[in-house]
């Protein structure tokens, strides 16, 4: 068990995470890695509200998540690690000493400066560069919004051919 999914999703905890992935994986914990949320009790309460009672939610900064990463990996339950953007996941990968081998692009939505690459993935040139760098370092980057969907390899995401 341990961490079954490292996901980048700008909605953080929401329906696809709690229900779409959480139920088939029988998730017992979610690690929300976000420096801003980790510093705000109010934000934490907001995200905790919709999570089923049997699922623990850990709110971590990048630093504390990296510090506790081995504990999450060794948990006997299945878990999901979430970040809201590529930069935060990249920082976590940097500090995890090669122990994060796969990253899921779950939802990176439209914003000024981003180009659509998939129905649910929009990227700036710098974000594309960061993803290529993750792949170059041996991290398997795929896009997949829900478990029933086909995982789209990074090359297809960047080529804009993943929806075809």
């Amino acid at each position: 068990m341990g961490v079954e999914l490292y996901r980048i999703d700008d909605r953080l905890i929401h329906g696809q995470v709690v229900v779409g992935w959480g139920q088939p994986l029988d998730v017992g914990f979610i690690v929300l890695v976000d420096d801003e949320v980790a510093a705000s009790e109010w934000e934490q309460e907001l995200y905790r509200m919709g999570v089923p009672p049997g699922v623990d939610v850990f709110f971590e900064s990048v630093e504390t998540a990296a510090h506790d990463h081995d504990r999450f990996r060794g948990d006997e339950r299945a878990g999901i690690v979430l970040t809201g953007d590529i930069a935060t996941m990249t920082r976590l990968v940097d500090r995890a000493n090669g122990s994060i081998r796969a990253v899921n692009l779950g939802g990176i939505h439209h914003r000024a400066g981003r180009t659509q690459r998939l129905r649910y993935v929009f990227l700036t040139p710098d974000e594309e560069r960061q993803l290529r760098e993750l792949a170059r370092r041996g991290v398997a980057v795929t896009a997949q919004d829900v478990p029933a969907a086909r995982p789209v390899p990074l090359d297809d995401v960047l080529a804009g051919t993943g929806d075809s």
Binding site: R11, G15, V19, G50, V51
Partner: protein
Amino acid sequence: MNSEGGEAAAASPRAIVAGHGDFAAGVISAVAQITGRGEVFVAMTNRGLAAEDIAKQMRDHLDASGAHVVFTDLPAGSCTIAARRLMRERPDLVLVTGTNLATLLDFVFNGDTSAEAAALAAQHAVARGRESLVCLPSAPGAASGR
């Protein structure tokens, strides 16, 4: 708990229905088919939107309609989280999550455009929606013998 506002009040949008996919448009179309009063609700979907854009669109709908109630589909959903964010800036905003058709049908016939009446109508609608959930047979093996 029938409205004293009559037809004129019922014809104005009084609530936002927000959720995944076509949930809102679908359930509102069912309300319209049953009651002819689908215009009580404004539909919105989270499809293709980042969290901040969901909150912005919901805020715009609330401002444009004057509604005081948001109905959402899923407690963990991004529309629910957006509504909770807006509750911080709008103390009289009421959120109902886990919405079903019976909930909205009850809301249509109660309350008016005031915040206080809308809050009471939402509470009444939640009770009705909860009562409408039934599983038959009520227990495994409880079906009538044939």
